[in-house]
Every structure is written in structure tokens, then in C-alpha cells.
Symmetry: C2
Subunit: 391 residues, 2 copies
């Protein structure tokens, strides 16, 4: 039996997660860039007006004479004619500055007169209100670096410089196998001795928080040959999650089935509560996690171990880690790390009542997991504890 | 022109967002419950073992005599026979306690002997290691209250008590109309005077952060009749977002088109930078937001105004609001609220360089928007400012 830190390190050291994919920009939000993106053009690609106003040659203007309006240029249009000295054109935001003009005056700062074809201009600095070609991004320069999160503004930025696809760190392909003879589908009628199967929904929902859909979910009725067949069948996945049958009862044959499938066991059993039977192994490129069938233990292991493992693929940290003062004293047993369902309120974190591993109602109310150290017995109100947010 | 606070209040007061839907539990993660969920059964629905061990009648035991193993009961099975005094059954976690038994002893705490059909038990309290029927949830009691976030553990909890569908506050149906004659599709060749269209991708990506896909995106080439047709066509949406054509240039006819579509204008122009031309109106049940075409201004208005509006539908707060000390002094003009692209590092927030409204590269690096007050001119390093996280 190993401790939580060793378990986390073994996972980190044994994952093979170099999956990079090319995605259309429209599907890339939330991914991490796996390349540096170079600008293919200057952006703006032409000198453009930053305002609705009038473009003219400040160079050839005496600072006082009114100018004649020679035409109009709006965004998306092109004026081939050279602007003559003492002429001006009406111009709109984003429109190209005509050849011969070097300055734009805001429409609010001019007086139009003489059948509306002449304007008077006040004080203005040469070059005002022009967004120069390349002033945002220059051709061939690095627009975004490798490792950058593609936020919505980053997507908009890349679209704006003409990028339509990017290489990103891919999400892992995840397969789930649910074992258990006692499991009923929710919505069916309860029958004696059976319980409703909830891990497939709980784990799928937790994956949805990471914007991941499992590629498959198999349900196995505690028959070892069926489990072996299912495991072999899903060995193409990056991550295989098996729930149930991992304790030490006579019918807990998940570890044995994984062994028969040549999965290399890296650890089985961790000094923690809940989730002591937690198992991790690998087979070629596939990381295999076996979770206790107990839904609270399964989800605890999912948040504490599998979410970071997924993050090694996608290069993301999904949930915040905080240090928050405990709302009350808490006493635990020495020798196990505790992961407790917690709720944060007014800057402190409360250990919710109902921490037994089958009590999902407390987990349903939780916004975080509180981690209490293996070697420590007594926690005092106000003491800072490690908290992993789960929403 | 109104101020930011008035604009936010007008949106809040004028949204009609009573959309409730029934969803399969498998699709309900991340939604807010619009009903209280009652338990249909006791859970556990039977007394069950919390351990792998041996079940026996503590009541009929003298505290020292060894017990005879009469059989075995595992999860998902049912033992009709009454257990006799001084008998025990091998039992596994989650299995039903046989009639006549009242206590389970952990397998680690017994000695098996006599051809492995008898056990010796140490000290144990009556009732140990049994999860009593109804000890998590009692039939007819409220399992989850209205207003509760359906986290993954909440989904797992509800599945575990046999729930398979829930009523939740629905996401709004959102339609987007992009206007602009100057817009090219990203990936196409740049041509003089044109820019790449990025708002459709940027806004869709930002909606994806909220797990929302727009129901439609129309592209309109700055022709008023076409715009009017598109607006009328999309009036079934809960939220209609129009980008571009909302400034005061001669070709900015979005406000006029909305007026011709009988959209009631609630405000147009807000004392803010960027996004001054921002417009909000409504037509029957449809909330209409018109954003400046400038991508940075459009996304700023999206995060500051439309995300909270979506939250009124879904009853969620999507992005964290924090108060963080400024990393440096900052001087602004009085009379406008500023929304600045910021980045948090080591507990302070830095105003990124490149705040001009067309500079998307700074927005691409930002993790937050910093809000600076309309009436204030000078901010001092270390001063707490309002920050809206955007990732």
C-alpha cells in the first residue's frame, strides 16, 4: 500500500500523453496550443481609420484652410484615386486610408458647410486616428506561443489574423467499464438486494465538466471472462477506467482480470479514505485506472487522480486548488489521507456531515474535496487545509 | 447615454427567462434544478454490509463461542433463509444482511479454522458495519432542493436513488447575426481593404465556455433589407445578438433596422470603453443585444452583459468576480467606465499593453477584464479593483 503522493507521482511518471491534433479554429476553444502560430499577414493589412470622420493630408495642409470633400470611403471598399492636397474624404471606422491621406479627424471635431461639401478642422496632430498596417501583428512574427490557452478572445484574435486551423494538445480517448451484478438502471423498479447503477452517469458527468465524452461505456455482470474480453477490447483507449471489483472480496476479480490482460500493475491500494482499493496500471499506451464501485469513492479517485491525468494530455489544470481555513475542529485516524466532502462559505470550508463512503447526498452538496494529511490526527478550527474545487 | 450600472439593471429588469425543461439525468450535469426532487425509495433500500466480512446475530451470541459458516451472500444476491443463532454467513460489501443477523465483523478481524467452516470473533459492538435501510435517504423526503447545481456527484447521487430525469432551468436559445461588408472568412486570401471575420468564431467560442451552441449564425452584407429580414426571421430566439453597424456612421443601420422590426429600444450607447455603441432592446420574449463590430468591444460586451443575461436563464454565475490589487498605477479619462484586458499574476492584476479596441492580441493573453470606475481618473498601484475572470 502506497501513500497519496507516491500514487500521484507514479501516475504522472507513467502516462504517455503526446497526442497532438490539428483542429479547425471553430472547435479549438479551451484547448492548449501545441505549436507557435506565425502571422501570415500584417494586421491590420492596410492603414485604416480608427474613427468615423474625414481623412486628409496633414502634410499638405496649412493648419487652417477648409478642405473640399472629394468622396467617401467605407469599410470593405477601395479608393484607387490619390487624394489631392486640400481635399478630404468622408471615411468610416475600419475603412482603408486613401493614398495621399495621413490623418483622420473625428466627425465630432469638424464643421461641415458650403452645401455640405467643405469642412473646417480644429487642432489635430499628424497621424491621428489611423491604425497603421501591422500595428497589431506583423507578418511572420509569433502571434501566439506554444502552451497558450485558446480562450474565446484568443480564437477571435487568430480568426482576425486569418488563421483557420491550429495544432493543439488533444483530449485523451477514454473508455469506461462498469462491473457489478447488483446494478439496476436508474428509472427501473427497485428489487431486493439491488442498487441503482450510478457510476456511469457520475463519471460521464464529471468528464463533461472537462468537455470530454467517453468513447465507450461497457456494463459487465461480474463474470471474469466477460470482463477480460471487455478490457482487451478497449485497449486502444488512452485511458481505461474500470469501476468495481477492485477490493479484496472473493468476487473482486478486476485486478486479476487486468493481470490476465497483461496490464502492468503500478500500484493497487492507496493509504487514503475513501478509495483505498484504487488501482493504476498500464498496457502499452493505455493507462488503466480501476476504481472502487462505491460511487463516492469512485468520484473521489476520479477528481483526485484521473482529472490531473487527463490534464497531462490536454496540458490543463481543470480545478482550482486552494488553501482555506477549516470552519471547525476535525479529528481523524493517523495512517490514511482523508478526502472529505466540503463546502466553502464565508471564506472557510466546512466538512459536510455524512462522510461514509456510501453517502452520496453529502457529495451532492459539496463544492470541494478537503485533503487531510495521512500523518496528522487533529485539525483545529481555522487551520489552513488543502482544498480541491470540484465545480 | 447611460452608465454601466443602469445598463446592467435594464437588462436584468427586462429579461423574460422562465424557461424550464425536463432532461434525462445523463444530460443534466451543470444545470440548476428547477424542482425539488423527492426520493421514491429508501436508500439503501435494504440493510447492507459496509464491509467484506461475516454477518451474524450479536443478539444471540455469547461474546466468545466460535460461529459456523452457513453460507455466503454477495452483492446483488438474495438469501431467503433465516440465519440461526451461532451461525454466520460470509458477506461482501453492499450485500443484503440476511434475516436473523444484526452485525458484520470485518474479515480482517476473524480467525477461520476447522476446515475453514468456523470463525472466531474478537470484541465487536452490536450493529457494526451495517448500512441501515434509509440511512442515506428516506422515501418521500426531499433528496435535492430547487436551485441546487447538478454537479457530477449530484448526478451520481440522483442516479443512485433511482431518478432518471429532472426539471432544470434551460439554456436560452441564442441566434447570432454578423453584419459587415468588409468581412472575409478566415483561411481565405487577404484582399485590400477587407478584414477577416472573427466575431462569429469569438462569440461562438465564448458561448462554448458556457456549454451553449448558438441555434443559428447569419452573415449579412450591410444591406438594410437583408438585415431586417434576418432579424424578423430570428425573433423566435430567447436572445438575439447582432454584431456591427451599431455606431453612428452613415452605414451603421443596425439600430434603424431593429427599430423597423418593432424592437423596443431600452438603451443605445453606454458610458464605457470599449463598447460605447452597445445596444439593448426587446421584442416580445426576445432580448436583443447589438454589439459593435470591433471584436474586442464585441467580446467585452459579451462577457460584461450577455453572460450575466444568460445566467438569468440558467440561474448560474459563470465567471468569478474578484477584487485584486493593481500591479501598477493607471490613469484614465473621467466620464467612461473602462474595461481593460488584464492578467493576474502573484496576486496582482496587470493592465496588458495594447488596450486599443482593435488590439485583439492583448485580449488573447488576458485572463480577466478589469473594471475601472467612470468617475475616477487616477488609480494607484496596490489599489483593489473589480476583476471579472473570463477563463
Amino acid at each position: 500500500m502506497i501513500d497519496v503522493r507516491e500514487a500521484k507521482n507514479l501516475i504522472k511518471d507513467n502516462l504517455i500523453c503526446e497526442r497532438i491534433v490539428s483542429l479547425p479554429l471553430s472547435e479549438a476553444c479551451g484547448f492548449i496550443l501545441a505549436e507557435r502560430v506565425l502571422a501570415a499577414f500584417d494586421t491590420p493589412s492596410f492603414d485604416q481609420s480608427a474613427m468615423d470622420g474625414y481623412a486628409f493630408s496633414h502634410e499638405n495642409w496649412d493648419g487652417k484652410t477648409e478642405l473640399t470633400i472629394a468622396g467617401e470611403v467605407r469599410a470593405g471598399t477601395y479608393t484607387p484615386d490619390l487624394l489631392k492636397p486640400m481635399q478630404t474624404v468622408r471615411i468610416f471606422t475600419g475603412a482603408p486610408i486613401p493614398a495621399g491621406a495621413d490623418t483622420v479627424v473625428m466627425q465630432e471635431n469638424v464643421t461641415v458647410f458650403g452645401k455640405a461639401n467643405r469642412i473646417n478642422i480644429g487642432q489635430i496632430t499628424k497621424g491621428s486616428n489611423i491604425r497603421l498596417r501591422g500595428s497589431q501583428t506583423r507578418k511572420s512574427e509569433v502571434a501566439l506561443k506554444e502552451g497558450k490557452l485558446l480562450s474565446a478572445p484568443a480564437i477571435s484574435f487568430l480568426a482576425g489574423i486569418g488563421i483557420d486551423k491550429v495544432r493543439v494538445y488533444a483530449k485523451p480517448h477514454i473508455s469506461i467499464i462498469i462491473t457489478g451484478k447488483e446494478l439496476l438502471k436508474p428509472g427501473s423498479t427497485i428489487s431486493f438486494g439491488k442498487i441503482f447503477e450510478s457510476n456511469s452517469l457520475g463519471i460521464t458527468a464529471a468528464l463533461m465538466q472537462l468537455n470530454i465524452s467517453p468513447v465507450s461505456i461497457d456494463f459487465i455482470d461480474d463474470i471474469e471472462e466477460e470482463l477480460i474480453r471487455a478490457i482487451k477490447n478497449r485497449m486502444g483507449a488512452d485511458i481505461l477506467i474500470v469501476t468495481g471489483g477492485i477490493s479484496e472480496g472473493n468476487y473482486d476479480f478486476t485486478a486479476e482480470a487486468l493481470n490476465k490482460c497483461s496490464v502492468e500493475k503500478l500500484f493497487h491500494r492507496v493509504k487514503q479514505k475513501p478509495g483505498k482499493p484504487f488501482y493504476f496500471g498500464k498496457y502499452l499506451q493505455t493507462a488503466v485506472f480501476a476504481l472502487p464501485g462505491n460511487p463516492a469513492a469512485a468520484l473521489t479517485c476520479f477528481y483526485e487522480y484521473i482529472v490531473p491525468a487527463i490534464g497531462y494530455f490536454t496540458r490543463k489544470e481543470y480545478f482550482q486548488k486552494l488553501k482555506i481555513p477549516l470552519a471547525d475542529d476535525y479529528k481523524k485516524k493517523v495512517g490514511l489521507t482523508y478526502f472529505l466532502k466540503g463546502k466553502i462559505s464565508s471564506g472557510t470550508v466546512t466538512v459536510l456531515s455524512g462522510q461514509e463512503s456510501y453517502m452520496m447526498n453529502s457529495f451532492a452538496m459539496a463544492d470541494c474535496l478537503i485533503q487531510l494529511d495521512e500523518e496528522k490526527e487533529q485539525y483545529i478550527k481555522g487551520e489552513l487545509v488543502d482544498v480541491l474545487m470540484i465545480i
